[in-house]
């Protein structure tokens, strides 16, 4: 798929020379005595699909609303392209929003909903008709022009909301949990459709979600937010393979995190005494207490790889594509996923597991900061 290859390209060139469409410079937002967004700086490349991902209350929606102009930061500056837009009302910003509730105007037809922004900008008559018809075709809603929003299904309303924003050809499209109200199957379908639409029209999308799978599926780059700050920013692959904090490791997929102490340039001594090899760059000059991480699917049963642990089997769970084993080792509980590549190929578990140093990552010690 075209989408896939684009993400690949970006993974190989994480630093792109393309200009930023959205730039946040040390932005802070307080609500009474709560700091919702805490000194966040961020650049979003032109034409990219960018996701703000995090649990509720992490500041992602507030960040989006500040870009849209619905909230003003207490400190810092927001730029759209080169232009600082802080202090400008929403209607003077070249961005459009797809709201979580869709916010379709119930008293207007689908045609008038979609044409609303065009009319406010002084587009008239046949031009409005042409552009509305074209965008409704793009989202697959041709022929629905005369209906009222309440006569459409949830998925159709979602498309109208998307069309109503896109028809204005904004510099940036903001999406606030746009798929949250849809059922799982429709959500999966819309994820791919929205990604394809974004690819076709090339407008920068900034997407807020708490669903890590959705962010990974759709976004070129993801900023993971926690407590009003960006924990880590990168491509889905970078974040998954090389999480830099325990929070990121725990929020994206499942991680085994084992506490230990740095014992060499490329080794960590776990609390049970086992020494684990890690890539030197993963340590990033850390010393003292750290946590060593490895993804469950990167661990093998048996002694084939360099980093080894042993324990006894606690649980086995068949999850279709894989079988999950949970082992109790002296370094901590460890989950292992073994792909069910052949029928009936469940392996005998000896209690020995191993993984490659290359699959190992290191995060700051998570004492008292266990991720969700």
């Amino acid at each position: 798929m075209a989408v896939e290859s684009r993400a690949e390209t970006e993974r190989q060139h994480p630093v792109s020379p393309v200009a930023a469409d959205v730039r946040l410079d040390r932005v802070t937002k307080n609500f009474d005595d709560v700091t919702a967004v805490d000194d966040v700086s961020l650049e979003i490349e032109r034409g990219s699909f960018f996701a703000l991902l995090g649990p509720s209350g992490c500041g992602k929606t507030t960040t989006l609303r500040m870009i849209g102009g619905f909230e003003e930061p207490n400190a810092g500056t927001i730029y759209l392209g080169e232009e600082p837009v802080t202090g400008k009302p929403p209607y003077k910003r070249d961005v459009n929003t797809v709201f979580q509730s869709y916010a379709l105007f119930p008293h207007l037809s689908i045609f008038e909903n979609v044409g609303f922004g065009l009319r406010r900008r002084g587009v008239r008559g046949a031009d409005v008709r042409g552009r509305v018809t074209e965008i409704l075709r793009l989202v697959g809603l041709s022929g629905m022009e005369k209906r009222k929003p309440r006569q459409l299904s949830g998925g159709q309303q979602q498309r109208v909301a998307l069309a109503r924003a896109l028809v204005n050809r904004p510099r940036v499209l903001l999406l606030d949990e746009p798929l949250g109200a849809l059922d799982l199957k429709l959500r999966k379908q819309m994820q791919l459709e929205m990604k394809a639409i974004q690819h076709d029209i090339g407008i920068t999308f900034v997407h807020v979600t708490h669903d890590q799978e959705e962010a990974m599926t759709m976004a070129d780059r993801i900023a993971i937010m926690n407590g009003g700050r960006i924990e880590q920013l990168g491509t889905p692959g970078e974040l998954y393979e090389h999480p830099q904090t325990a929070f990121v490791a725990g929020f994206l997929g499942i991680s085994n995190l084992l506490p230990g102490t740095v014992s060499a340039m490329d080794a960590v001594r776990l609390d049970d005494g086992t020494t684990v090899k890690v890539p030197q760059e993963a340590l990033r000059g850390r010393s003292g207490r750290v946590a060593v991480g490895v993804r469950p699917e990167k661990i093998r049963l048996g002694h084939g790889e360099e980093n080894r642990l042993s324990g006894h089997l606690l649980e086995t769970a068949y999850v279709g594509v894989a079988t999950q084993y949970v082992l109790d080792t002296r370094a901590g509980n460890i989950s292992v996923y073994v792909q069910n590549s052949e029928p009936g190929a469940q392996q005998a578990v000896t209690g020995e597991i191993s993984w490659s140093p290359d699959s190992t990552f290191v995060v700051d010690s998570m004492e008292g900061a266990e991720a969700e």
Partner: protein, 285 residues
């Protein structure tokens, strides 16, 4: 119990029955009696007789056209004023009231804890010739040295406006309160200024409240007589005053009854025309 199970289709009608019975006894029967009365002739001394006296209607319109016109004029002005005063208040409570919403609504309803008559009498005091309002208006030369407020059309319209304000404010509040704020944000997001967002989104969505409020104010205001009686002079009398005096002082029942029917008919026509103009969809939301 068995009966209800066997005739489940009857249940809604049985539930409706008490209300329908009440309406039949206390609305339809008196209305029929009133219609009968309106076609009688005679006098209180010699008794009234049913004679199909359609002339009563003609007389009502011919002799009291001025009172009818004045009634709808005052009621119309009062309705517009009530709308103009209530809308910002209802808007402010609905959108900015926050946790004070219920208290502020209570303030709007508070006058209802005092009876209509007493409230209007209080206005008599407020607008009286040696009252503070008149003195101030004279001092700043809005009124001449002998100018008055009491016994003027201004006082009557002010009284009606004040007395029916809650009937306007409450439906307005309800319809404004229901508006999803993200719709207004969406309008601003789609390049509508605050004023345009109000005109294109908030105002149309509050129309059910506007329609309900104007009807609840206009209809009783057109038939009102208390305000004209207590705050106006005979030159400000409305059709309600005439009906009241025909009934209670002159005991001319046929004239009073026929005038009542003319008033009802005009109101019905006006309301239907209004509903047609704004669209029936807005009446029901």
């Amino acid at each position: 119990m068995g009966f209800f199970h066997r005739h489940r289709g009857l249940t809604p009608y049985l539930l409706l029955a008490p209300g329908m019975l009440f309406l039949a006894v206390f609305f339809l029967v008196p209305l029929g009696f009133l219609a009968y009365q309106s076609l009688e002739t005679g006098s209180i001394d010699f008794g009234y007789h049913f004679t199909w006296a359609w002339g009563n209607y003609w007389d009502a319109i011919r002799h009291y056209r001025g009172h009818f016109v004045r009634s709808f004029e005052y009621a119309g002005i009062a309705t517009v004023l009530a709308l103009v005063f209530s809308y910002p208040v209802a808007y402010w409570i609905a959108f900015r009231g926050g946790r004070w919403k219920n208290l502020l609504l209570l303030f709007i309803v508070a006058p209802f804890f005092v009876t209509y008559l007493i409230r209007t009498l209080a206005w008599q005091t407020i607008l009286s010739d040696n009252g503070l309002v008149v003195r101030i208006l004279r001092d700043i030369h809005v009124l001449g040295s002998g100018g008055r407020l009491l016994a003027t059309a201004t006082a009557v319209v002010a009284g009606i406006t004040y007395n029916f304000l809650p009937f306007m404010a409450l439906p307005l509040y309800v319809s404004l309160e229901q508006i999803d704020h993200s719709l207004i944000e969406a309008a601003e997001d789609l390049y509508a200024s605050k004023w345009k967002a109000f005109l294109r989104v908030t105002l149309p969505l509050s129309m059910p409240g506007v329609v309900a409020g104007t009807l609840l104010t206009f209809i009783p205001a057109a038939g009102d007589f208390i305000n004209a009686q207590l705050l106006g002079s005979p030159t400000n009398h409305m059709i309600g005053n005439v009906i009241e005096s025909k009934y209670k002082e002159l005991l001319d029942y046929p004239a009073a009854a026929s005038m009542s029917f003319v008033l009802m008919a005009i109101i019905l026509v006006l309301v239907l025309a209004y509903a047609r103009a704004v669209g029936t969809e807005k009446l029901t939301g």
